[in-house]
């Protein structure tokens, strides 16, 4: 194994591989920052350029670009509350409030450092767990995946401050919107009203561009003030504070990284669930959960650490079984075919050096992204203070182009505009937009795995799946914990008041 680790590293230390890694990282950062485009688009566009080069160099280009898009997504989520793709959603919850409080540099630096630590921890544990993970993956089925999705739903209560009813209503609406289109289980067109366009469903990135970016620009055009008015809110944080935050919350980083690795290992779960689950565990394990959603740095560190580690985990089922851990891993599989690599159990025995090359690429790409990210953070942090009259036309234009570019369908421009108005109204009447998107992201996964579980094990499938049952109990306990703590805190405050 030591030989494979060193062979994997040496394969990357060629000028071609290092150049491709650098190109991939810079390209990935640009794509990640553009609204609507994420790692999948970045890798798909690179595919034609991957033939005829060294294996390690090609993998460095693809994986480097993919890893860089993760932090690119985080940047727009933190600065403008505009997630570039579904996985950046969790960063909006606390990253954007930090920006509004004049802590953009700290949030961006904490995000970059969290992703770096997550990537490294994920890669180390991946290397250690390679012999152990195969039987674990085989032991899990759709019932357990269903529980993972339900865990993601438990963050709803966090964003329902003010009215739990409105928060839950927003989630229900989000779930129903996700059902628009052809039902994946029964092939029934649902809520399409005969429209061919709606048969494909509502695109998540387009919906998020509308809900967050277009609605924020509408608000900004009404107010006429920038996101941050520097005469009122000074940028008083530093990059160093953010780096220290990530190290100070080291236990949260470790927990989130392992969670990301675990979710990555599960085929088909994806990084969007990972970000939400990481946020949920950060809230549920915090001693001060009431700070979340208002600019808690832990709410930035946890999702980024998880998403950093998630990529390493996603490699596992892709390499070991040829089952992609997510959409981007499916594109990586296509690249494997071009390179003559055959995924399967032999990858973990005979081609272990290629596996470790990929582990090293994840580590090196994360280091490169963090160095570049920390270097450009002071400039990025100035963007939210740009004048509203400059921001509104520019961001709106780029958002609509991004919405069109997502699928190349002009109808998506209308969808982005409709969701922009819906997002504006939801914000005005305090129906949580975050809950809406959480419902949308998790709905399909919940429905698909519920149907498969019922088909395989019957309606009482939980009785046949002890791991799923244990996970359900864990979800109920962790979801109830913040309420129980809050109740205890109120009772203690009441007693203290009575005693005084």
């Amino acid at each position: 194994m030591i030989d494979a680790i060193s062979a994997g590293l040496f394969a990357l230390l060629t000028p071609q591989a290092l150049l491709f890694l650098s190109l991939g990282v810079v390209y990935g950062l640009v794509i990640g920052i553009l609204p609507g485009l994420g790692g999948v688009v970045a890798m798909a566009l690179l595919l034609p350029f991957t033939y005829g080069f060294e294996t390690a160099a090609t993998l460095a280009l693809l994986l480097g670009a993919h890893i860089a898009t993760i932090w690119g997504d985080s940047v727009t989520s933190i600065l403008f509350s505009v997630p570039g793709s579904a996985k950046g959603l969790a960063l909006c919850f606390d990253g954007y409030p930090m920006t509004k409080q004049g802590k953009a540099k700290r949030a961006l630096a904490a995000s970059a450092t969290g992703a770096l630590l997550g990537g490294i921890i994920g890669a180390i544990f991946l290397a250690l767990c390679i012999p152990l993970i195969r039987p674990v993956i085989l032991a899990l089925g759709p019932s357990e995946y269903l529980m993972m999705a339900l865990w993601g739903l438990t963050v709803i209560a966090t964003f329902s401050e003010g009215s739990l009813m409105k928060g839950m209503t927003a989630s229900v609406l989000g779930v129903l919107v996700a059902f628009i289109g052809l039902d994946v289980v029964t092939a029934t067109p649902r809520f399409t009203f005969g429209s061919e366009f709606l048969m494909d469903g509502i695109s998540f990135p387009v919906a998020m561009i509308g809900l967050f970016a277009v609605s924020e620009m509408m608000k900004m055009s009404i107010r006429g003030t920038p996101i941050i008015d520097r005469s009122l809110v000074r940028e008083d944080s530093t990059v160093w504070q953010g780096i220290c935050d990530a190290f100070r919350h080291w236990w949260l980083v470790v927990r989130s990284s392992l969670l990301g690795l675990w979710i990555g290992v599960l085929p088909g779960v994806g990084a969007s669930v990972a970000g939400l689950a990481a946020y949920a565990q950060a809230v549920q394990t915090s001693k001060t959960p009431e700070r979340f959603g208002k600019g808690a740095v832990e709410g930035v560190i946890a999702p980024d650490a998880t998403m950093g580690a998630n990529e390493g985990g996603g490699l596992m089922p892709t390499l070991a079984f040829g089952i992609p851990g997510g959409e981007s891993m499916a594109i990586l599989l296509v690249a494997f075919i071009g390179l003559g690599i055959v995924p399967g159990p032999e990858m973990l025995t005979k081609n272990l050096d290629v596996v470790f090359s990929m582990v090293w690429i994840i580590v090196l790409a994360n280091i490169a992204v963090t160095i570049i990210g920390l270097a450009i953070t002071p400039w990025l942090a100035r963007l939210p203070s740009l004048q509203a009259n400059l921001m509104v036309p520019m961001v709106l234009s780029v958002c609509f182009v991004g919405a069109y570019a997502t699928r190349g369908r002009i109808e998506d421009v209308v969808v982005a505009a409709v969701f922009g108005v819906v997002g504006y109204l939801m914000d005005k009447y305090r129906y949580s937009r975050a809950n809406f998107v959480i419902g949308m992201v998790l709905a399909v996964m919940i429905e698909r795995n519920l149907h498969i579980s019922i088909n395989l094990y019957g309606a009482d499938f939980l009785m046949d799946r002890p791991i799923a049952l244990a996970m359900l109990i864990f979800i109920v306990v962790t979801a109830a914990l913040p309420f129980w703590r809050e109740r205890r805190r109120k009772r203690a405050a009441l007693q203290a008041g009575g005693a005084a």
Partner: protein, 171 residues
Amino acid sequence: MSRHAQENLVSALLIGLFALVLYLCQDYGPRARLIPLPLACFGIFLVVVQIIQHNFGREDERPAELIHVDTSAITASAEGKPRTERTEEQLGQWGEAGAYLIVALLVAMIFTVGIFPTVFIFTAAYLILTQYCTAVRGLTYSAVLTLSVYLLFVVALEMQPYHGLLAGWMS
């Protein structure tokens, strides 16, 4: 219309929406409606509870303004220059109607003249009409933005641009 009435109107619209989902679900098979049907019922239940809480029970929400306006921003001045932000009175319904109009106009322009001409015209018009900068500067900024967006999306990402209905009619 008062905020209270607006909240009730939104709740009524939501009930209507969930009722429509219930109605549409009748056409689907038992498996296709396994989740949407009970979820729509649950949605109606949530909105009814919300209406009861809002009208008869304890109001658990923070008092909310129609649009959050930082009034200190209006009175403050930066570097001794008078601020140009609109006053709170100006921000009401007219501001909202303006925001809807901007989005509608942008979509209509994209459909009519295509994506990239819209980016140029809309940005230039917005910058000049809001008096953010002079006409020459506005046109320059718009040209730079349009060129950057074109290079990124069409040249680098190989996106096929939409040319608009006008181009179709003309050809």
